[in-house]
């Protein structure tokens, strides 16, 4: 455990844990509303923020937060108004964001594509003291929203039309989800990088789903997976000198595969338990299609 003696590793681990909590906590609502790739889009837009941060000598983390929140709000507005050409508008936003990032960082006096790489794929040794402060504040906001408003966000993400008829402020909640997702992207940016953020939002949720039947359990297990892989990936990257973002994402996909393999016998056991719980008169249900099948064969 010698890595705990280094300040940079302490900061990196703290950031990693916060990413492990926040990314799946927001991601679950995105997956629920079938917008799993929204995090990816926000990540692209955030690049412009990083570039602007370098150009204006501002904190790239706060600048990326600002720009990605604006981008997320814009995406939500496109979803409301531009129904027909919505996907094209979103594509322009994503690639414009990426191009803007590359352009600004090359215009910046002290910027180079090397700086950008650490934001694209994550870099532990560069997590600074001020980055950690920003990450803690932003993560607190994300946790507050995703847990405090879980019933409202669940209702809106499950069935938007119904949520409107229950009088929920659906537009405000959608905007809040978009903003929270944008904030999460910038929280995760230093650890896993902008291009891989979306994986940590989506894959732990997909992995947890293999085992669960309820939303609450999916949430809890997804966050547990998130924390495990971010810590595991960070420590691995310290010892093996491999990039942390890629390590974390590969570990997450490994967790998904492992849980999928585990889920098959579990589902079988559940089906057996369910069959056992049914009243004894029920086997007739299976007999009917069988006899029908036989009758059909006779007919042919």
């Amino acid at each position: 455990m010698d890595f705990l003696n280094y300040d940079f590793m302490q900061r990196a681990l703290l950031a990693a844990v916060l990413v492990g909590i926040t990314a799946p906590a927001v991601g679950i609502y995105l997956v629920q509303r079938r917008q799993a790739l929204m995090g990816d889009g926000i990540g692209h837009v955030a690049m412009t923020g990083v570039g602007l941060g370098f150009l204006l000598s501002w904190s790239p983390v706060w600048m990326a937060t600002l720009v990605s929140v604006l981008g997320a709000v814009l995406m939500e507005l496109i979803r409301w108004y531009g129904r027909t050409r919505g996907d094209i508008a979103l594509a322009m936003l994503f690639y414009g964001g990426m191009a803007g990032g590359v352009m600004f960082i090359n215009l910046a006096p002290n910027g180079s594509n090397a700086n950008l790489t650490s934001y694209l794929f994550g870099s532990l040794s560069t997590v600074s003291e001020s980055d950690v402060t920003a990450i803690i504040l932003l993560a607190a906001f994300v946790v507050l929203v995703t847990l405090g408003l879980r019933r409202q966000l669940f209702a809106v993400s499950q069935d938007e039309e119904f949520a409107r008829v229950t009088g929920l402020p659906v537009r405000a909640l959608n905007l809040l989800t978009a903003i929270t997702a944008a904030v999460t992207v910038t929280v995760a940016m230093r650890v896993v990088g902008l291009l891989l953020v979306s994986a940590l939002m989506v894959v732990p949720v997909a992995a947890a789903q293999q085992l669960t039947r309820s939303f609450a359990a999916t949430f809890a297990i997804a966050v547990a997976i998130g924390i495990t892989v971010t810590i595991g990936g960070t420590v691995t990257s310290y010892y093996q000198d491999v990039p942390p973002g890629a390590t974390i994402v590969l570990l997450t996909i490994g967790a998904f595969i492992a849980l999928t393999a585990l889920a098959t016998p579990l589902a079988r056991r559940r089906a057996r338990a369910l069959a056992a719980a049914q009243p004894s008169g029920d086997p007739a249900e299976c007999a009917i299609p069988a006899s029908r099948d036989a009758a059909g064969k006779v007919g042919v």
Binding site: R33, S157, D159, T166, G167, L168, Q209, F215
Partner: protein, 264 residues
């Protein structure tokens, strides 16, 4: 949910549409519809596909912008109506599932949010969710994933979600679509109890089916206009034969425990 609704001042209708017009894109879907539903009435909205019946219902709950005419809910202009807990809505869906697993209890609970402050559930809210599930005969499935349900059970969950706020008015868009016979009977029974307790119901239907005896009035739409407003149209074909009383014996074994003693 069982206490009788006070026979409030007999004046204002629960739903009132006057000259309502709506377009989807540039195509007129509603061309001046008048519709009134009084307290305690059960009104069926009938019509062929594309006749505007779903659009009419969705304009009432504010999901379709209206280009002309007036809509009132409980005597309040729709734009100023905020008392959503009085209204239970069953959208036209074939599934209650989303992109993430959710239990029957979790989905039905979201129908109770309109009665809570900031989404905080109290004892009475949990009790109301349980009662709504009992009404549709799904109380024993509360912890099951909605993705494991049959089509009819999905519909029962969606109706329980609408009932969770203990509404005075139920608006249902094709609640019988894709529903097996056992669930159709359960749904008819649920509706019968709601009506007996004084609820007002507006439902979009493709055919009257097992709900026919419950329906006070039928409004038939064609091409966005009201074609008929009065007693339900007479059954035709096999359904009109003497002795046809909508008993479906082959669907009984599933529904029986719930119906016992309630059918009268």
């Amino acid at each position: 949910m069982t206490e009788p609704v006070k026979p409030a001042d007999p004046v204002e209708p629960v739903i009132s549409l006057r000259g309502v017009r709506a377009e989807l894109g540039s195509r007129p879907v509603l061309r001046g519809i008048d519709l009134t539903v009084d307290r305690g009435e059960v009104v069926a909205l009938l019509g062929a596909n594309g006749s505007g019946k779903s659009t009419a219902v969705r304009s009432i709950i504010g999901q379709v912008p209206v280009s002309a005419g007036e809509i009132e809910l409980f005597g309040t202009p729709r734009a100023r109506f905020r008392d959503w807990a009085r209204l239970g809505y069953v959208p036209q869906r074939t599934t209650a599932a989303g992109g993430v697993p959710a239990t029957v209890g979790e989905v039905v609970s979201s129908g109770r949010l309109s009665r809570t402050r900031f989404g905080v559930f109290r004892k009475a809210d949990h009790a109301a969710v349980r009662r709504a599930l009992e009404l549709v005969g799904m109380a024993d499935r509360v912890k099951d994933s909605v993705s494991a349900l049959s089509g009819g059970q999905h519909q029962r969950v969606l109706i329980a979600r609408a009932l969770a706020s203990e509404p005075e008015l139920l608006i249902m868009d094709e609640p019988m679509a894709g529903v097996d016979l056992a669930s159709q009977e359960v749904l008819a029974q649920t509706l019968r109890e709601q009506v007996a307790a004084g609820s007002t119901v507006l439902l979009v239907l493709h055919e009257l089916g097992p709900l026919e005896p419950l329906i006070d009035r039928a409004v038939v739409l064609r091409d966005g206009c009201v074609l008929h407003d009065g007693p339900p149209p007479k059954a035709v074909g096999q359904h009109a034969l003497p002795g046809h009383d909508h008993v479906h014996p082959h669907a009984a074994h599933d529904a029986e425990p719930i119906r016992t003693g309630l059918l009268s």
